[in-house]
Structure formats: C-alpha cells, structure tokens
Symmetry: C2
Subunit: 403 residues, 2 copies
C-alpha cells in the first residue's frame, strides 16, 4: 500500500492545496492520501479563517484519508523551517511520496536544482548574507542569491512562491536523508487548476474581504467557491459568529504593544532590528490592523514577516521558545486530527513501527511544543464569546475527528 | 491662605469622598481645596467607571479648586502605600491640612492611636506576621494585630475600612515628618453623609450593576445620584459607548493568563503564593470576570487583592516595576489634572518653592512612573473603538483641564 503526503493549510481563500488531492493521487498512484495541516495560524502569518478541526473535516470530505497536525512551532515560519516540520511529520507516517504544487510542475528541475545548489552552496550563502546586509528582506535576498547560482531562471524559477516552498521540501527531504520521493503537479499562480474556477475567481482575496466584511456568503463567493467550502464556512459562522481575520485581534495586539517594554517586545519571535521601536511609534496612530501594517511595512519588514511577528506577539511566543526547534531531526510526536476508515486502517498497520508518540489530543503527552500549541489555540479563539471558546476548546482535548 | 488636601477616587458609586468637599472646608476653614485623585484604576483594584479627565471635571464642579494625579504606582496598592503616595503628592503642594472621612469622625484617637502604635510596634509586627503565616489575608491579619495592641476597639476601630485608610494617612504624615495637620469628618459605612441620599441608596453597588448592565441611567439611579454625576456619566457614555467595568476586560485577561507561562505570571505584581497555578487552572472554566473571581477567591486571596493583581496583569506591571517606590521619600513630580481660577492662582504662589517638576501632561517629563501611567491609561482605554481611544488618549498628552 503506497501512501502520499500532502502539505496543506486548507484556508478556503489562500491556497489551492485543497484542489490537488485528486491530481496528486493520480500522479503518484498512491492508495492513501495523508495531509499534514497547519494548525491555527498559517505560514504567511495569518489566522486561518476557520479552525483546524473544521478544516480537518473539509480535508476529509475532499478525499484526504488522514489529517495530522503541523505543530504551531513549524507552521508560522520561513519556508525552510516550515518544510522541515512538514517532512519530519510525514516521515513518521512512513509515506512513500510527497506531492506538492509548483509553478514548475515537473520534479526533475527540483532534483537537479538541489544538486546544483549543493555544489554552489557557499556562493549562495555569501550572496544571501550580502543582500541581507544591504537591507533586503529574506525572500528578496534569497531570490537574488538563487539568481547568482542560476536557479532563478529557466525550468525552475526560485522567485516564484510555490517553487520556493517546493524547493524547501526537496531540501528538507535530502538534508534529513529521507527516502520519501518528492513529486509535483503544476500549479498556477492563483493556486487553482480548474480554468473555469480560476476565471471566476478574479481575485480570491477580494472575495475573502467581501465576505468577512459582510459576515455572509456573497453572490460572487457562491459562484467562486466549491459547495463544501461554503458549507464549512457557514457552519463555523453559525457556531461562532466569526470568521477569523486579523482585524478581530487588533485591540489585543494594541494592548500587548502598549503594555510591553521595548525589552519585552524584543524577546518575541520576529521582533528584530529595532522593530520594537517602530511598533511602539505606530500603535497609537493605527485605527485598524490593516492601517497598522501599512504604517509598519518597509522593504525589510515585509507584510508576511510582520504578520508572522504578530502571530508570535499574540501567542506570546519568544525567540527562546523556538530556537531549539530549528535543527530538529525528528518530529516530537504525531498528532492525528482526523481520519476516515482507510486512514484508521493505515494507522493500525504502521503504528507498531512508529518511533514517536502517536496522539490525538493535547492531553495525552507533556511536551513543550504542545504547550505552544495550546497557547496558539487559546489565542486563536480569543475573539469568540466565553461559551463558544469553551465549546471549541474541547475539540483540542478530545479524540480525533472520524468520518 | 490655608489649603486643605483631600484624597479622592471620585468613582460615582464607590466612595463618598465626592460628598465631603464642603464638610472638609468647613472643618478646616481652608481657603482652597486640593484633591489628589487616583488615575485610571482605583485602590480596591477596579477600573474607574469613567476616565480620570471626566472625574477631574466632576471634582472641579463639586467645589475642588485643584486636582492633581495620584500616580498609578501608588493608586492600586494596600492602604499604607496608597497613603504614602497621596501624602507625598500633597506635601509638594504645601497643604496645611489633610481631611479624610472616617467611621471614627474625630482626629484625636488617630493621633493617640499613632503614639500607641509606635510604642507597641514590635508587638504589632510580630502578631501581623504570625497571622499572615497562618494564612490570613493582609487586612484580616492587620485587624487581628491591631486588636492585640488594643487599636481595634473603642474610639478608633481599625477594623473599619475608612478608619484603616485614615490611620494610614496619619502614619504617612508622621513617618515622613510632614507638617501637614490631619483632620477627619465622620463618614458612615456607605460613604454618604446626606441621610436622605443614604436612605435612597439602599445599595450603591446594585445600582451600579444595574446601570452598567443596561448602559443607561435607570430610574433608581436618577433618584439616587446627584444630577452632576448623572451628567458626567451620560457624557462619557455618549462619547465612548462604554462605562468601565471589569467585565469589559475579561477576554484580555484570559488571553494574558493563557499565553503567559507560570514564570511570567509570577513576575506580575500581586501574583504571589502560587496564584499563577490557580489562575491557569481556572481561566478555562470562567465564563465572565465575576465567575472567575468566584473561582479564584479564598480566605487568603481576597476580592480586593485579586482585583489589584488583575490591574497589574492587564497593565503588565511587574513586582520589579514597583519595588523601588515603596520606600519613596519624595513625590517624583506633581501632575495637575485640572483647576479653576483659584487653583491657578494658588499654583502661581507656590510654584517657585516646589522641589519637584510641575507638569500637566505626560510628555513634559521622562520618568519611569509616567511610563507606568501611560501603560495604565492605554490599558484602561482598550475596550473603546480605535477612534475613541485616540481621542481620549489626547487628554493625556495635552494640558490640564481649566474651568
């Protein structure tokens, strides 16, 4: 029985991973599809629009057989660390393939690119540091560095977002000495493969804004989104009266910046290079999250970087909390969020050979990474009413979702 | 020209200081009335129902000539420290008298009581520590200790709240070697001297709860409160859509307890004797502030003590922030919140002899106590909309209120 791993976030508006289950299955000819899914906050530094449990249900409905959690400590990080966390998690589940979407759409240039990168690694690193010193952001600097070693043109353009992430997966597989075989399917920029859908969604972001503003599914959203997605969105809104969006967290972030000292802000992951001063200088002027971001943004402090920092501020995640995880060689545990019958059978088969604890709720194990996970969940749910918070939090303390 | 100092909080429902301007003036025969007023949070550990600027206007309307700020670092503390801060502040203003309300209503037993206390101080201290070790709260333990040295019976019962505070004023005056002459007027338990009003307000607390719940002045509030008070309450509600009450801050406190580690909680002023564990254990269960308090309260963790701790948690005020102020011998500055023409003239007269900076907004001086003040203001305003916050915060950055 062959297993294929997918790395997903499952935010209805933000990525197309949701649409690549079928194609990945076809590509790899796998019997079972396993998704490792970001928990409450996403790689680009945003709260997921609905919680991880509702997104798990959505993934299972979309043909995934088993959903495991990408720990918070990995989920809101730069591509290489995100990728390492995802590959470590999938490795424990003994998957044969990892299939990701990329602009390139062909795995060969990634593999050749990796060999090339290995040969020119010192060139790459020198150029990266040079560009960083000149004030470029990490993504910009690494793009320039890839250009220097000829990896930003031709078949694999490491200036494109999904190629970058895909290259990070390949790097993680190789660096960890994993036997997982990487595969890729073509992914267009908007992340949707169905040309019709892609056409209809002129701008996923604008629809997202529209429905969050209205707190209802608008006509254009009905046209643009798959029916199951709409159902999950509606269900969550009925339950909580909210869809998660940074604006809901704005007063909390304000309070934290206003009451923490510069020294305390500096301890937060992502508060670097004097950002603590800029945060304090702008907090008073901002009238909402978006206006604050606009005030904060510079060439160096990119939108994504600032958003990730805000996730860490909200959850009180310090540099010290995370530093021990960047060189991790093994996932600390495997947490099942949900599965169908096939997923269950698969787990029964591989269980005896697993090297790390298999858990389905955060009470089953004491681990500092689960402490971070719980903080992220609590912070994520904070805009809800107390009763709704209690109800949703229960999902974190009970077994996996089984369909 | 004789000046009389009053120590006020000016919360419409919580104390009667507001009603004793006239009586104090009569008692001391002073020409000018100066009030030192708690800023955003009150001694019992509560957010003031309306902000310090609106309470300043109310005080000026009530016959006070000059209102100065009791710094946050002193305002939310146990009686002795609160008193020390107030007396230090009034000393800089060269007042001749301090007049306070007390159940005793006669200054002589306070003065004799102080001499007696001096003679039996070591007895008192021994008994206090013994009682504290046995698990009593500070107010309970000090009541017992006063009993041991015969100060909790007869003319001055140091088991009664206003007597305790009054005795702390006398102690502060004596210990600081101040020439201020203490005076007292009789104050009944509810804090209202007008028998009629007192009768009508069977329970000020219940009216407070009622109007906060309804966000409007109820019939019983109209009957019970002076017309100016009602006007100030209405004005603030129109401006902000809120009256401040702990319930507004509940989700913020939840987030802070959920995302701080035990070690971080332990650094907060008032988190003592394992309270950090109790906070974490109960945070999930509470559905509002009141239910949380009920879950937290014990013989040792009194309501007042817990509320003060929550003020410090909300404002991120640590033990380290405050430890340097408990032995202060001089106010760090004098901040004018508001004055009338008479107050202005008085300030002109004494200005040249003042030993500390005279300021009217927090931008005029760099001092760590003003950093704490600004944090308290920001945290206090956090439940308002961003635009209202900006508007109200301006008051902190501009001159005094002049009527």
């Amino acid at each position: 029985m062959k297993a294929c791993g997918l790395i997903v976030e499952y935010n209805p508006f933000h990525n197309g991973h949701v649409y690549h289950v079928e194609q990945s299955k076809e590509k790899t000819n796998a019997d079972i599809m396993i998704a490792v899914m970001s928990s409450s906050f996403l790689q680009r530094g945003e709260p997921a629009i609905i919680d991880k449990f509702h997104r798990t249900k959505a993934a299972l409905n979309r043909g995934v057989d088993l959903v495991v959690e990408l720990p918070f400590a990995f989920a809101v990080q730069y591509a290489d660390l995100f990728a390492r966390g995802a590959i470590l998690t999938l490795s424990e589940l003994n998957v044969d393939y990892v299939c990701f979407g990329s602009e390139a759409g062909n795995i060969q240039p990634f593999l050749e690119g990796y060999d090339h990168y290995q040969n020119y690694k010192s060139h790459f690193t020198d150029e990266l540091h040079k560009q960083l010193d000149q004030g470029l952001s990490f993504p910009q600097a690494s793009k320039k560095a890839y250009q220097t070693i000829d990896l930003a043109t031709g078949e694999i353009d490491l200036g494109q977002p999904n190629n970058i992430l895909g290259f990070s997966y390949v790097k993680a597989i190789k660096e960890l000495g994993s036997t997982i075989q990487p595969e890729t399917i073509k992914r267009t920029k908007s992340g949707y493969h169905d040309e019709k859908i892609e056409h209809e969604i002129a701008s996923a972001t604008s629809i997202r804004k529209e429905i969050i503003k209205d707190r209802s599914i608008t006509d254009s959203a009905y046209k643009a989104l798959p029916v199951e997605t709409i159902e999950h969105l509606k269900e969550y809104l009925n339950l909580t009266s909210n869809w998660h969006d940074w604006e809901l967290y704005f007063p909390y972030l304000q309070l934290l910046v206003q009451t923490k000292s510069h020294q305390e802000l500096r301890q937060i992951q992502g508060v670097i290079e004097g950002l603590e001063y800029r945060l304090k200088q702008t907090v008073q002027e901002a009238t909402d999250f978006h206006s604050w971001m606009t005030l904060l943004k510079t060439k160096r402090y990119t939108w994504t970087r600032l958003q990730r920092m805000f996730v860490h501020l909200l959850t009180n995640t310090t540099k010290e909390d995370l530093e021990k995880y960047s060189e991790m060689k093994q996932a600390p545990y495997t947490r099942i969020l949900g599965m169908n019958q096939k997923g269950r059978e698969y787990i029964q088969t591989i269980k005896k050979d697993m090297n790390v604890p298999l858990i389905s709720n955060i009470q089953e194990l004491k681990h500092p990474m689960l402490v971070l996970e719980e903080k992220a969940t609590d912070a994520y749910y904070i805009p809800h009413s107390p009763k709704v918070k209690q109800q949703l939090k229960k999902q974190e303390l009970t077994g996996p979702i089984i369909i």
